[in-house]
């Protein structure tokens, strides 16, 4: 009798565990593969949240006119030259400074030499 009861208790525990496991499995499965109607609901809601918007008419017209002007300038070869970045000007200043410094050094050296010759 004791053995039978023990076996029954163990089996009832197993059954409970099996039910728990089954429920967990179902929950996980349901999470991974939701019913199509739920996905369709989300799809509809996203469609509403991202509804197409209308381009403001004034902006549309204004941009069209500006583009036409830019296109005309481009066609006529009147494109404004692209602004050179500051690095370009820095390079120009640095090279100019280098050239000036070299000339100044040469002049000083020549003057010192001529003075020493006179002495």
């Amino acid at each position: 009798m004791r053995i039978q009861r023990g076996i029954l208790e163990r089996f009832s525990g197993l059954e409970e565990r099996f039910v728990g496991y089954r429920e967990r499995l179902l929950r996980r499965f349901a999470k991974r593969s939701p019913a199509p109607e739920h996905v369709a609901e989300v799809e509809t809601a996203v469609g509403q949240a991202l509804a197409p918007v209308r381009t403001p008419p004034d902006f549309r017209r204004y941009l069209g006119q500006n583009l036409a002007l830019a296109a005309w300038r481009k066609g006529a070869g009147l494109e404004v030259e692209r602004f050179r970045p500051p690095r370009f000007w820095l390079a120009v200043v640095a090279i100019s400074a280098g050239v000036l410094a070299t000339i100044a050094t040469l002049l000083i050296a020549l003057r010192v030499r001529s003075n020493s010759v006179h002495e």
Binding site: L50, V53, R54, T55, A70
Partner: protein
Amino acid sequence: MSDCDDRALIEAAQKDPLAFGALYERYVDRIYNYIFHRVGNVYDAEDLTSRTFFRALSHLADYQDQGYPFSAWLYRIAHNLVANWHRDRSRRPVIALDEIVARSLSEQHPEVVTEARATMRLLREIIRTLDPVRQELLVLKFAEGLSNAEIGKILGRSEGAIKSLYHRTLLQLREEMEKRERGER
């Protein structure tokens, strides 16, 4: 709006920049719509739309037909500008569509409007937290009404990959909405 028509317009615009106007008229609404949903406000949408078309005009001579629609080229320019915009501001887009939703629901009962607005706000908040590619996919799909094949050409992925990504995105949205409704975040 066929690719053949586009090709003729592009060739005309490459020869004479004044013909670019026809391409502008054809695509301005789609590009504006796309940018608006990515940045979330009218001012930046207008600025970035202008920049997209000016850049397209100045680089049109370099455009080569590589089998992709012209719109894909324009979307790519717009996408790069929007990405730079986000990087410069280092913030997430704010989609201010409450007014539009309110207008579309204005004839309904106030409680219904309030509830719908709250749902839309929650959904837009969640969309803003998505990966940029997923956000772009949703905008192209819903705001632009493009097919998976067209989106694939723009995003440089196969049609199947887009279909799969789209499904995963919807599942992620659903899961996030459930989490928020349960108050987990």
